[in-house]
């Protein structure tokens, strides 16, 4: 296990003071969330894959706890504690350690304990403005701390949502594609299935039962399924009701009666996701692609353009930034704008900072409804290396 020398400790503390001063100056209030967090909240928000990278443990009272794997969720909990209705705009900043499981106890490149400094902006109604503000403050912080040439990469999951909303596709398929978006392989497989054999899930299911289910008469489905279970001597055990089973069988049966998704729509989705280019060129390509396909996502595209102009106005060198339509797909809680700041020193595999919009997270951890939220985290150990001119 890496032992921090007093030199790097002092240097990290000094750097953190510089970063926090930038955030405080921009009216971000410093908060200090607990290192030990209830594991349940993370498991609900992130899912079981959290366990793959988090130190989860139980205490003497059998309470399941974890060492925080990020500071975004703990900070959001502070916000909800102070504002249970989540009806007040707020700006918080933090600096501290996070903990991630690494096979074999970790290495200098992948330590199991490292630091993050960051900001979170909640319930700000003007979203493009909030997005731009968080990126601008993060850029200011890393540059003030000595990063010479930040390389910016952005994405926008809102554009993808808008695209799926605008194309002619059954709602249940739209939901399925949205849910699979985070797993590119599964997404591609689903898209292929929908555009070739949408009813393939019916294979292997009891044909006599499926034949009896009429998508036009959903009210009768539950009784038909119950009859089937009774006549086959299958007991309906557990908490999932027969009605839920019948509803899904109906949806599968409906798929089997549906025409495949037009190839043009599948191609359009694939073409959009393949866009990766300098920001301005990417914007033009997106506009062109959608115009050619007669797709109107005016509002989302306006928001995209407005965010860029706010960033330019705020002094960010947007001409040099890259847009990547796929960017953000690996982080399930992002819902809109996403960004990453890299350095020449450490390269694209070790971002110095990253962030984005996550409007669903607060609802998952207890807010009464989805709350606009956007934030960013700086990997301060990396920033220190890059700013001091070290190369990877």
């Amino acid at each position: 296990m890496a032992v921090e020398t007093s030199d790097s400790f002092e240097a990290l503390e000094a750097q953190a003071a510089v970063i926090m001063a930038v955030f405080n100056e921009a009216a971000y209030e410093r908060v200090a969330p607990s290192i030990i967090q209830p594991a349940d909240i993370f498991l609900d928000a992130v899912g079981e894959r959290l366990r793959a990278r988090t130190y989860v443990f139980t205490d003497q009272d059998d309470e399941m706890l974890c060492l925080r794997p990020d500071i975004t969720v703990p900070t959001a909990r502070i916000y909800l504690q102070r504002h249970p209705e989540a009806d007040v705009a707020a700006r918080y900043c933090y600096n501290g350690s996070v903990f991630r499981y690494q096979p074999g106890g970790g290495s200098p490149a992948h330590p199991r304990e490292f630091r993050q400094a960051g900001i979170e902006l909640y319930a700000q109604i003007d979203e493009a403005k909030a997005d731009a503000e968080v990126l601008l403050r993060t850029l200011e912080a890393v540059q003030t701390a000595g990063l010479k040439a930040p390389k910016l990469r952005i994405g926008d999951l809102g554009l993808f949502d808008a695209l799926l909303d605008a194309v002619d596709i059954p709602e249940r398929w739209r939901q399925r594609l949205l849910a699979q978006f985070w797993r590119p392989d599964a997404f591609r497989a689903e898209l292929k299935r929908l555009s070739t054999v949408p009813g393939s899930a019916v294979e292997g299911l009891p044909a006599d039962l499926i034949a009896k289910l009429d998508p036009k008469q959903p009210a009768k489905a539950e009784a038909i399924v119950q009859d089937y279970l009774d006549s086959h001597g299958i007991e309906a055990i557990g908490t999932r009701a027969v009605g839920e089973i019948a509803a899904r069988l109906l949806a599968i049966s409906l798929d089997a009666h549906s025409a495949p998704l037009p190839k043009a729509i599948a191609d359009l989705i694939e073409s959009y996701l393949a866009i990766e280019a300098p920001v301005r060129a990417a914007g033009a390509r997106i506009k062109d692609l959608f115009q050619r396909n007669d797709i109107d996502i005016g509002e989302a595209l306006d928001a995209f353009e407005r965010r860029l102009s706010l960033l330019t106005k705020g002094g960010a060198n947007i001409a040099q930034a890259t847009f990547d339509a796929e960017f953000g797909r690996q982080f399930e809680y992002y819902t809109g704008f996403v960004f990453e700041i890299c350095s020449d020193e450490l390269g694209p595999a070790s971002p110095i900072a990253g962030g984005g919009r996550y409007d669903e997270l607060l609802r998952v951890i207890g807010a009464p409804r989805p709350i606009p939220a956007v934030g960013a985290a700086i990997y301060t150990d990396r920033l220190l290396l890059a700013a001091s001119g070290a190369t990877s």
Binding site: G47, E48, R49, A52, Q180, L209
Partner: protein, 233 residues
């Protein structure tokens, strides 16, 4: 005298008897020696090897820590308790007994669920309707998580279950289970079915060697001798 090769062998039950049988068939007779209540032994005909008799789960820990050079235990235990097993253990030989399949089982009444990918769709609907995740009862938390992830299933929560796991769906404390099954009749009696692609692991008693153990020319020589006998099976 140089340090011996430490061979960890299950200390009780069928697992111990069958290990002794297989070793004997390979021309290696396990013999308990000494006064410390029969927890130590030798292999007749193999010089420089010492046997320790410990529980199957303790054998995994001994191999992990390198206190045993080689050992016989269930593959299910090794895969569950060693995060990167392939890197830390080497499979010398699957021994052909102690068979147990680790399977995913759901209520037989879930007529719409046939394969793993159905679970993701069910999990999403369930969460929307019930306000919580589908629960999977198991003692194999790590194996479950890895397998579900590999199959793109993310909408679920694990509840740890150390006994009578197959009864949890009917009792309402979980929706599905991951458990070992040898015949499948217990599952059926509890109203459950194994998914078509729901066999996570076909486990059996396995002879492992540990990469963490202190390997010397002497222990390597003893290992080679044992490997030669095992190869004759």
């Amino acid at each position: 005298m140089s340090e011996p090769l430490i061979v960890a062998v299950p200390s009780k039950g069928r697992l111990m008897e069958q290990t002794a049988e297989v070793f004997a068939r390979a021309g290696m007779v396990l013999k308990k020696v000494g006064s410390d209540r029969g927890y130590r032994g030798i292999i007749e005909g193999i010089d420089g090897a010492e046997v320790i008799f410990v529980s199957a789960s303790e054998i995994v820990e001994q191999l992990k820590a390198g206190r045993a050079h080689i050992g016989v235990t269930g593959e299910d235990l090794a895969r569950e308790h060693v995060a990167d097993m392939e890197k830390r253990f080497q499979v010398m030989r699957k021994l052909g007994f102690g068979h147990a399949d680790v399977v995913v089982a759901a209520p037989a009444a879930w007529l719409d669920v046939r394969v793993m990918s159905d679970l993701e769709a069910v999990g999403r609907d369930f969460r929307r309707l019930h306000g919580r995740h589908v629960r999977v009862a198991t003692k194999y938390m790590n194996i479950t998580r890895r397998h579900f992830q590999a199959n793109g299933v993310t909408s679920y929560r694990i509840v740890e279950s150390l006994g009578a796991t197959e009864g949890t769906p009917a009792a309402g404390t979980a929706e599905l289970i991951v458990d070992i099954t040898t015949t499948g009749t217990t599952l059926k009696a509890n109203g459950l079915k194994v998914l078509d692609d729901g066999v996570l692991l076909r486990s059996e008693a396995t002879l492992f060697s540990s990469r963490a153990a202190p390997w010397t020319p002497d222990t390597r020589a003893a290992l080679a001798e044992i490997a030669r006998h095992i190869a004759s099976l």
